[in-house]
Point group: C2
Chain length 116, copies 2
């Protein structure tokens, strides 16, 4: 019996893509608008092939898409995937908080609000 | 020149920890309340040593803490770290959405609302 959440592979890839500071830096740049590969590479102290590898990981994760016009490849953020990741976290944090609220309610009704 | 975001190691570890469906399943279970290692292992079709390794990764990521009483180790979610991850994503999605809003405003003022 194996219980995994919906579309685990997609979430695996998205979380994995975000587990690297250079890739998060690229996502950060793209959140401010589309950028060419050389614009993405400029602030990073790593080789161009390394940048291309990071972009490839982001691409396969669904967080970024890109299109080539002539010799320039322009990358864009794909917000739907960022939203899926955010939703997964928000959902589990909400479950945890609701549990705390219920616990608080039980303490209030048991100790008449005197609980810390 | 290396530009990385605040506490990148912590975020690296947290995103890495969430990039596995078994570890997300453990976080999902803990969002409903503390659980012993054997309770966490029960729904997973993997060996106990594998479960312990996953718990160790979650522990080092700061997402989960645990304490031992007698022979029972009880794990709990550490919501502050889950919140940091959520905030990182929310912040970048917000930047992206604000950019879209500005773009919409420019289109409206240029084309008098006729833009698609």
């Amino acid at each position: 019996m194996r219980r995994v959440l919906a579309a685990p592979d997609q979430l695996d890839r998205a979380f994995h893509a975000l587990a690297d500071p250079h890739r998060r830096s690229i996502v950060g740049r793209l959140s401010r608008g589309p950028a060419s590969v050389s614009e993405l590479a400029a602030p990073l102290a790593i080789s161009l092939p390394a940048v291309l590898q990071h972009i490839d990981v982001l691409h396969r994760s669904g967080l970024v898409r890109s299109e080539k016009a002539g010799r320039v490849r322009t990358c864009r953020l794909e917000p739907a995937q960022l939203h899926s990741v955010e939703q997964w976290i928000a959902q589990h944090r909400a479950t945890w908080e609701q549990r705390l609220d219920r616990l608080g309610g039980v303490l209030d009704s048991t100790y008449g609000g005197a609980a810390e």
